[in-house]
């Protein structure tokens, strides 16, 4: 202690002149060297995803309310558990019925529905999908809310199904199906479904149907479908926004509470079976400069215990930018602008599909890489770093699902659809975090098995490339696909 004081005194007394012997100058210090260290995270704030408040209307319609936000906005979704399964042999029926709803009610024609919505600052949309049909109302709260909800209820409950509207809408839908043939993505998707399920299966055709199936639909089919399927027993409401239960409940009860409960429930559909061996299907897309690849197989349903382990495995394979699939096709080979894989969630089973658009002359090599990457990832136990990455990716990004009322209500739609509990999202972090590397490996093993994978390619038959000697040469796309050595078939355009 004393010694320290002495030294300090001596230092203070030292003459302020330059030392006699010059020391070598210190090496220049990079004043920015500190940037080499990536900053650590600050302590995370405790946050849990909202739990939906549940109540029912007097006729039993379940309502899920997510109270959030401070802007005068509300997102209301009327979810009907009516989708392709209710089509029977009339592909496109459920979607056509849905598309007729905003064409006119008993008291408003289609233009008036749109005009009323616009004047209220509301967006009203009908979205038919594979297993459900959703009417979405994004409305302003305050004075415009009541008339906005009137509009939603009017469209859902009082469709006029006018004959002239019907003929026009059929033509629009058919023309839309025809127009989509110019899009290789649509062609690949259509072919993939037909090959996976078989074209007689209600899921073997996209929600919208085929040109022939929609042309064959009659107005009576639509009115019968609506009368059977659109009833309170098939309905649920999900609401997100700045409103409390006491205010919301009477608003919904007065509009939807008297809706009758009908008989029809969901129709059973046969589950597809996974392919027994790798199968490559080519469909020509004239003029395309890229080929669209869909590769996939049958996956667990949204409700099975396997769902989260499978999600972890598939996210590592193709759910992120830094997933193997994208790194391979985009970064390592430079053949694609992006490549991703994910589930099409469904009640009884699901599909896993990997998708990419690749430069056409690299179609066959890209298919080979997709299958190779699947094989390499199938059953591989992820490293601890990968498990941390995927958990953080899936869990820490969750607040992003609740930024907008529309995204919050969209996030909660799967509660009524799959019968999940109100705290599904609050518990999501726990469920993902509890997945072990071994469980993920096991779930990935059967999903990523190239031998159970169906590959569909929509692309040009041949494409010209530089031959490296100053000339041009043609790549025979189906020829190269066939030469990969898997079961191969070329099919006509759907």
């Amino acid at each position: 202690m004393i010694r320290l004081v002495l030294l300090a005194t001596l230092a203070a007394c030292a003459p302020k002149t330059a030392p006699v012997v010059a020391e070598p100058p210190p090496p220049p210090v990079d004043p920015e060297a500190w940037r080499a260290n990536r900053p650590a995270a600050a302590p995370a704030k405790a946050w849990t995803a909202p739990v939906a408040t549940q109540f029912t209307l007097s006729n039993g319609i379940p309502v899920y309310l997510v109270k959030q936000g401070d802007l005068p906005l509300l997102s209301v979704r009327l979810i009907m558990k009516v989708g392709r399964d209710a089509n029977g042999d009339k592909a496109g029926l459920a979607a056509l019925a849905a598309n007729m709803l905003d064409e006119g009610t008993k008291t408003r024609d289609g233009a008036k529905i749109a005009a009323d919505a616009a004047m209220l600052g509301a967006d009203l949309a009908v979205s038919p999908s594979a297993e459900s049909t959703t009417l979405t109302l994004d409305a302003l709260t305050g004075d415009p809310l009541s008339p906005s909800l009137d509009l939603l209820a009017d469209v859902a409950l009082n469709p006029r199904f006018d004959k002239k509207d019907f003929a026009r809408v059929v033509d629009e839908v058919v023309t839309g199906i025809v127009a989509a043939r110019a899009e290789p993505r649509d062609v690949a998707q259509r072919t993939f479904l037909a090959q996976m399920y078989g074209s007689k299966h209600p899921y073997g055709v996209p929600t919208v149907g085929t040109e022939a199936s929609v042309k064959a639909l009659k107005l009576a089919d639509v009115t019968r479908h609506y009368a059977d399927q659109w009833h309170a027993g098939n309905a649920a409401l999900v609401v997100a926004g700045n409103i409390d239960e006491a205010t919301l409940k009477p608003l919904l009860e007065s509009r939807f509470g008297k809706w009758k409960v009908g008989k029809a429930g969901r129709s059973a559909v046969t589950a597809p079976s996974a392919p027994l061996k790798t199968r490559v299907v080519f469909v020509e897309q004239p003029g395309a400069v890229q080929s669209v690849i869909n590769a996939g197989t049958v996956a667990p349903s949204r409700t099975t215990a396997d769902y989260w382990p499978a999600s972890v495995a598939i996210t590592l394979f193709g759910g992120m930018f830094s997933s193997r699939l994208n790194m391979n096709l985009r970064e390592e080979h430079g053949w694609s602008y992006g490549a991703y894989a994910g589930f099409a969630d469904a009640r009884d089973y699901s599909l896993l599909v990997a998708r990419s658009s690749v430069q056409a002359d690299k179609t066959a090599p890209a298919v080979a890489e997709v299958l190779k990457e699947m094989g390499a990832q199938a059953g591989r136990v992820p490293s601890p770093e990968e498990m941390t990455l995927v958990r953080d990716y899936l869990v820490k990004s969750l607040p992003g699902n609740f930024e907008t009322n529309a995204s919050a209500s969209g996030t909660f739609v799967n509660l009524p659809l799959y019968g999940l509990p109100g705290d599904e999202w609050a518990k999501c972090g726990e469920r993902v975090t509890s997945v072990t590397a071994e469980q993920a490996a096991l779930a990935g093993k059967s999903l990523l098995d190239p031998a159970k994978t169906l590959v569909v390619v929509a692309g040009p038959r041949s494409i010209e490339v530089d031959d490296g000697k100053g000339g041009k040469t043609k790549v025979d796309v189906p020829g190269e696909l066939k030469a990969l050595g898997y079961e191969f078939v070329e099919l006509p355009r759907p």
């Binding site: 704030k45 005009a115 616009a118 302003l140």
Partner: protein, 444 residues
């Protein structure tokens, strides 16, 4: 009556205001802070005040190629790690986009990772060139070529749309073509070009950093100073782009594509963003083609049933906006018929003002959509980008209320005046596409 009243009540509402604080670092970097702690998220949104509209002839696609390189790594951020690092902390949104007037980089991150986002952004603002090699440049050229294929060449009508913009903005105007540029120009980009572009435009004094979300102001200011304060400013960039010249006589082009349905484009170079006529034309476009109550939809899709879909928009740009009417026809419909019928609808509003109801609907709907955009911190219509948008164009991040007032003041007569003055047969560009194997377009 009830509906009309509700609409009017909304129209009379004051515009939402976004609280913010703006200041400038000594090196010229503008900083805008906006607090919102609803969720444990924070959006970091940097606008560099350079876009494809600042490019030199023969260097199309440069600004966009550069945006790609910004994700490739910098002195302290390893190659190809920008996305993985952010994905790994659970960032719900990461993106960058290039437009004609600006380039933006946005990420929304968990609020406890704000410093990470500032580290990433400051490293590429200050230390990008240290690690930029020919190999990295070539790699990104290849990726951009794939993006061009996917977004322009392999989508129906994509090539026609590019031709359409070329006719609207003849070379050497840099709005010529698509933001993504041509294959040829992309190939020609050298490492030196890219470095010069960075040194000219990617300066703290040519950028604005918006931080919006859950953060603490004092410590955030200290972090901004720590990460951005020592990045040297550069010479104030000189913008040579001029206002697009008016089109003096009608230009027409017929093209073919591997499509099933014919399509018609009619376009005009119109009032620049925020200049007189801009708001009027935005509302005119909405009255013409926004939704099933719009005029073109009712006339062409519902009544005459010659069109599958219609679209109209005013794309606001600094050096000349674009006013566009698009019609996708029913199968085998002659483009001439689509043109005549669509023009008749536009012509009617050039002569007779729309009803007050039509105008109120268009504005109320637009306003509600802006409001819904503000639910988000980041993203392309979120609060951070709105603050940056107004700051870029009018120098005031808080211009939202004034902007709403600009639209509130539009009358039906003003819509018709704007249309009749700017949207004429003699200054338009008409491009049509008919189904047949793709060509690069016929003669003008």
């Amino acid at each position: 009556m009830l509906l009309a009243l509700a609409g009017l009540a909304l129209a009379a509402d004051p515009a939402p205001s976004i609280p913010f604080e703006k200041y400038t670092l000594p090196n010229g970097l503008e900083v805008v802070l906006s607090h919102d702690a609803r969720l444990p998220l924070v959006a970091v949104d940097i606008w560099y005040h350079v876009g494809a509209g600042y490019e030199l002839p023969g260097r199309s696609g440069f600004a966009h190629l550069f945006e790609h390189i910004m994700f490739q790594g910098s002195r302290n951020v390893p190659e190809d790690q920008f996305f993985p690092i952010l994905e790994g902390v659970g960032a719900p949104f990461v993106n960058g986009t290039t437009d004609f007037d600006r380039t933006n980089y946005l990420e929304t991150v968990p609020s406890n990772q704000l410093e990470l986002a500032l580290w990433l952004e400051s490293d590429r603002m200050g230390f990008l060139l240290d690690t930029l090699t020919q190999e990295r440049l070539d790699n990104q050229k290849a990726v951009v070529r794939k993006e061009r294929q996917q977004s322009t060449e392999n989508v129906p009508y994509g090539v026609a749309e590019e031709q359409f913009f070329k006719l609207l903005f003849p070379a050497p105007h840099p709005y010529n073509g698509v933001v993504i540029g041509s294959h040829q120009d992309l190939e020609a980009a050298t490492l030196d070009d890219v470095k010069a572009f960075f040194r000219t435009w990617y300066l703290p004094n040519n950028a604005t950093l918006v931080i919006c979300g859950d953060f603490e102001a004092q410590s955030t200011k200290a972090l901004v100073e720590k990460y951005f304060g020592s990045i040297p400013s550069g010479a104030e960039p000189i913008i040579t782009t001029q206002l697009a010249p008016p089109i003096s006589s009608e230009k027409r082009l017929s093209t073919t594509d591997d499509v099933e349905l014919p399509k018609l484009y009619m376009g005009w170079v119109s009032a620049p963003a925020f200049k007189p006529g801009d708001a009027e034309l935005q509302l005119a476009a909405s009255i013409l083609a926004d939704g099933k109550s719009s005029r073109l939809h009712r006339e062409l899709v519902e009544k005459k049933q010659i069109a599958q879909s219609v679209k109209a928009y005013q794309y606001p740009l600094t050096f000349g906006s674009v006013f566009v009417v698009e019609v996708i026809g029913k199968k085998d419909m002659a483009p001439a018929r689509l043109e005549a019928e669509a023009w008749a609808v536009v012509e009617a509003m050039r002569k007779t003002p729309p009803t007050q109801d039509e105008l109120s609907r268009a504005w109320t709907q637009t306003k509600a959509r802006v409001l819904r955009g503000l639910e988000e911190l980041g993203g392309f219509s979120g609060k951070a980008d709105v603050l940056n948008y107004y700051n870029h164009h009018v120098g005031d991040p808080g211009y939202l209320a004034a902007d709403f007032a600009r639209y509130d003041a539009v009358t039906p007569e003003a819509v018709t005046k704007a249309l009749s003055e700017a949207i004429r047969p003699d200054n338009r560009v008409v491009v049509d596409v008919v189904p047949a194997p793709k060509t690069e377009g016929g003669a003008q």
